[in-house]
Structure formats: C-alpha cells, structure tokens
C-alpha cells in the first residue's frame, strides 16, 4: 500500500491546523496515512492526528522548528523522507508549509505541485484555473511526490483511530538557524474563526469607506456564529486587517451562507468562497460578476439595504 504523509502544522498548545485533518482524511483513502509534526505542541497533537487516520506520527517538540523559518523543518523532513520513503507528501497551503515544501522540492528533486484542490490517486492531482472554471488533472512526478493542497478541498472526518508516536531526533546544524522569528503578533479574533464560521459576511470596496464595516460587524453579531471577511481591495486600502482577506492570496472559506456586500466578484476573490453552500450578493451594478454565482442577488445600494437588513434580522430574531 502506498505511504502517504501529511505535514501537519501545530500550535504550542497541541492544536492541529484544520487543514492537516482534511489532508489526513484524504490520505487514508489513498493509502497508509502518516503524519509529521514539528515544533512545540507536536507530541500533544499525536492523539488528534491519530483520530483523523494517521497510523504513525513522527513528532518533535523542539523549538528550533518554530523559531527559524523553513530551513530546520525542511531538513528534518528530508532526513525522514530518506529513511522512511513515503510515496506522497501532502502540505496545506499555509505560510510555513509553503516555504518548507519549496525547499524540499530542491532537496528531493521532485516537482512540487501547488494549488491542488483534489487528489485522484497518489500520482494524480487536480487543480483549478481561471477562478475555478477549468479543472486540470496533473500527473505528479518525483520520489516522493510533493503536493500543496488548498485548505477546504476535503472535509475532515475522524476515523476513530490512534497513532503511534515516533520521536524525531534529527541534528539541526547552526547553519540552518538563520531566519529567526524574534517577535510574534497575532490578533485575537472575537467570535468564530473566519475559516470555521457557518456564516460569513464579507465587504468590498462598494462599502465606500472603512467605517461602514461596522454595519457588517453589527449584522454578524446579530446573526451570531458569523464572521466578517473582506476583499483584497479593502485590505490593501487598510480598512480591515489582512486576516479578513478571502481569496487566492487570503483565506478559503466554505460556510453555509456567504453574504457578499459591495464585492464585484473577481476570480481571485471567488476562488476563496465559491465553495459556500449558499451565496447572497448585494451590488448596485446588475452586471457585477458576483451575481453569476449568487443564489440570491439584490441590485441596490448596500448602504441603504444594510441598515434595513440589520433591523429586519433584529425583529425576526425577536
């Protein structure tokens, strides 16, 4: 049976990145699933990784993997790969994973396949181009094959299994301790995480100015269990932090309901949200591309409709 590895990003408290659980769910369908977790929290994550189908987890809690960008982890992974010879290594398209996978491609000589949205087998992957309008199947190459998968491409489901822990003991040369993280600033979000929220309300340039985002906050607060997102145009304009960005260079969301307010529907935005179960759009331009993928489209002025919607939702919630 093929050996399929998942590189799992973990937090110091042992929390596993959701995308890694999605990848494990797919990995166990393709072969024998194993995981690699490096950095503080790794050994605490073993149980969770096992629950999602990893039979073995190669883990190390060593700070070196979190303190220095990419090089120590790429080195350790390479050593592990030489020793255990997996057929395929899956990474989620996250910041650190992307850097590590890129370096590993040079080390192994395997072509790294990016932006994967589906896996047919251990050597055939699918990607989407033109904002998801065209699907492309690609024959993977190399030993092992290396793939970066977009988050939310698969649904994470526990297998109820448990994993054996194998402690990683790799020497990391001082040479690899160069790009050092000296400070960490993470914004504590209130409410559900954007990636996990069942309802996402997003704003674009059509909101006119930064201050109008509070209308979206108010609506999200009323609905409850809703998160606010944004387009790159307004993130670049500084209206909201980058953490709000949805799309090709931002987050991928798959909520039950996506409300797009004053968003044109550029392909780079759509790739990040078209997996939503239901889409509602408000835009004053009836030709806006967002209407082509919306289940309900309202042609009108968002600044007029939003306050009315807030009142409507408030009264219906009673």
């Amino acid at each position: 049976m093929a050996k399929v590895w998942v590189y799992a990003e973990v937090s110091p408290d042992g929390t596993v990145d959701t995308a890694a659980l999605e990848l494990l769910t797919k990995a166990r369908e393709l072969g024998d699933a194993e995981a690699v977790a490096l950095g503080p929290g790794a050994t605490d994550a073993v149980e969770k990784l096992g629950e999602y189908g990893a039979t073995t987890v190669y883990a190390s809690d060593d700070d070196v993997y979190a303190d220095y960008v990419a090089q120590p982890a790429a080195h350790a992974l390479h050593e592990l790969i030489e020793e255990h010879e997996p057929d395929l290594v899956l990474f989620a398209t996250n910041y650190d994973s992307r850097d590590i996978a890129g370096r590993l491609s040079a080390k192994t000589g395997s072509t790294l396949m990016s932006n994967v949205t589906g896996l047919h087998s251990v050597d055939k992957a699918q990607t989407a181009i033109f904002g998801g309008a065209t699907l492309v199947d690609v024959e993977l190459e190399g030993n092992p094959k290396l793939v970066l998968v977009r988050p939310k491409s698969f649904v994470a489901e526990p297998s109820g299994g448990s994993a054996e822990l194998v402690e990683v003991d790799v020497d990391v040369d001082d040479d690899l301790k160069k790009a050092e993280r000296v400070e960490r600033h993470e914004e504590e979000a209130s409410g559900p995480r954007l990636e996990d929220a069942p309802v996402v309300i997003s704003g674009g340039r059509g909101l006119g100015e930064a201050g109008n985002f509070k209308l979206l906050d108010e609506l999200a607060g009323l609905i409850g269990n809703a998160a606010v997102g944004a387009t790159r145009a307004v993130v670049d304009a500084g209206w909201v932090p980058y953490a709000y960005q949805i799309g090709q260079t931002g987050k991928t969301v798959k909520p039950g309901v996506y409300v797009a307010v004053g968003i044109s529907g550029a392909t780079q935005h759509i790739v990040g949200m078209k997996g939503a179960k239901r889409i509602v759009a408000i835009n004053k331009d009836e030709e806006a591309p967002i209407f082509q993928i919306a289940d309900l489209g309202i042609v009108g002025d968002a600044l007029k409709i939003l306050p009315q919607l807030v009142e409507e939702v408030r009264s219906r919630k009673g």
């Binding site: 960008v69 910041y95 072509t111 790294l112 199947d137 509602v280 309900l296 009108g300 939702v313």
Partner: protein, 254 residues
C-alpha cells in the same frame, strides 16, 4: 550591497486568458512585468538608495521577457540578465528555480528579492526552492523591510497577524503587495534604460542541460468545472432587505 531582483514577464492580466492545448496561450498576447514584481523592484531600489550598491534584474523567459527587464531598468535598476532557451518552454517552478539559481549563483550577492507569487501562475514556491538551491535562508511574505549592515529584518505576514523575522545576509526575501508603493518609470528613466547592460544567457552558458531542466510533470486532462448556477437577481425596490432576511431564515441561520 549587491541586490538581485527576480522579475517575471507575464501575459497582461487585464486580458482574459486563453488556453492553447494544455498550456496558457502566450503567443500574440501582450506581456507585462508581473505587477507583483514591481514591489520587488521597488524594494531593491529603496535598499540601494539607502545602502548603496547595485540592483540586477534576473528573468527567465522567451525573448519578449526582455520587456519586463526593460521596465525594471526604466524604474531605476542598473542591469539585467535574461535567460532564454527554447528548451525551457513550459518550465515548472523547480526548473525555473534551478535555472535562476545557476544564473544568480555566478556572482556574489547580498540579497535576492522575489514576489510572493506570480500573478499568472501563482505557484508561490519558486522563491523558496531558489533559496534552497542558492543555499541561503529565506525571509518571506514581507510586509515591511529594514536592512542594515549585513542584516535584514521584516514583518512576515501570517494568517492572523505578523511575525518579526531577522536574518543575516546573504538571504532571499519575498515581498507582498503593499510592502511599498512602486514608482513609475520617468521619461528620463526610460531613455536611460536603453543604455543599461542586459546579458542574455542560454542554458549552455549556464552549464545546464537535458535532464536537469526537463519538465517532468504533465497535464493529462482539462475539463470544465461544474458551474454554479446564477440564482435570482432582483432590483431593490425597498424589499431587498426583507428578501435577504427570508433567505437567511430558509437557510436556518436566523
């Protein structure tokens, strides 16, 4: 300070892309310097203004890629290197990194600058693979850059904030859109660019051949994705908000 900036020539992103068999059509399509790489060029120029030195642009691509280099030279870069070879058609990120590493590695450098991801391919991994081939560390997703004697410090974008990352040179850095405000090429800059040196290299000039640069990954099938159908689009006649509230109720979110 010797600064190398990777610049990619891409089909104009404002023109809808077309396929030519299994590849993006490039012939007859107007090309531009990847807008993402303008931030890289600007970053290089600002560091040079601050610390002195040279900015060298490096691009791999067919002959028209010279336009991307010219554009960067017009902005103020000092010189260019274009690697062009028929054998490189369809090159993937691994091959591109190997070729750029061979070209960049010929000379001593302090900093290599690249975009986080290209606008046309958005592979987003070429720079990291390049850093490994060059044997240097990488500081990626830079939102801000500070550079002083032999050391670079950036704010590295993360999903929910940023990290401060510091590193000794030589190193490779990738820049996000927004790290700076790319300057326009002035008329004087455009005229000056015509006289700036650009070296054109083939694979054999770099001592690369055959298997090292063969593209191994292949597209086996293209298909249209299942389309999301457009639903109802209605003019807001004052009842728009109520319609949305009905929709939210049907979806059981309120």
């Amino acid at each position: 300070m010797e600064i190398v900036v990777c610049v990619k020539h891409i089909p104009d992103p404002n023109i809808p892309p077309e396929m030519d068999g299994h590849r993006l059509k490039r012939e007859g399509v107007q090309g531009v310097l990847d807008p993402g790489d303008e931030f890289g060029v600007e970053a290089g120029l600002q560091l040079k203004e601050q610390l002195g030195g040279n900015v060298t642009l490096v691009s791999m691509g067919p002959a028209p890629a010279m336009d991307a280099i010219k554009r960067g030279l017009s902005m103020g870069a000092d010189q260019g290197v274009l690697i062009s070879d028929d054998a490189l058609e369809g090159a993937d990120a691994l091959v591109t990194a190997r070729v750029l590493a061979a070209a960049i590695g010929r000379n001593q450098f302090d900093l290599v600058v690249a975009g986080v991801e290209s606008t046309d391919g958005y592979t987003g991994t070429m720079p990291s693979t390049l850093a490994e081939f060059l044997g240097v560390p990488q500081v990626t997703f830079a939102k801000t850059i500070e550079c002083s004697d032999g050391r670079v410090k950036i704010n590295r974008q993360t999903a929910d904030g940023y990290h401060v990352v510091e590193c000794d040179l030589p190193a490779l850095i990738t820049v996000t859109a927004g790290v700076n405000e790319p300057r326009y090429a002035s008329f004087k800059g455009i005229m000056a660019a015509k006289k700036k040196p650009v070296e054109t290299l083939s694979l054999s000039d770099l001592g690369l051949s055959g298997d090292e640069v063969a593209v191994k990954q292949s597209i086996v099938e293209l298909a249209a994705a299942e389309e999301r159908k457009a639903g109802e689009v209605v003019q807001d006649d004052g009842a728009g908000a109520a319609r949305i509230a009905d929709f939210l109720q049907e979806a059981k979110v309120i």
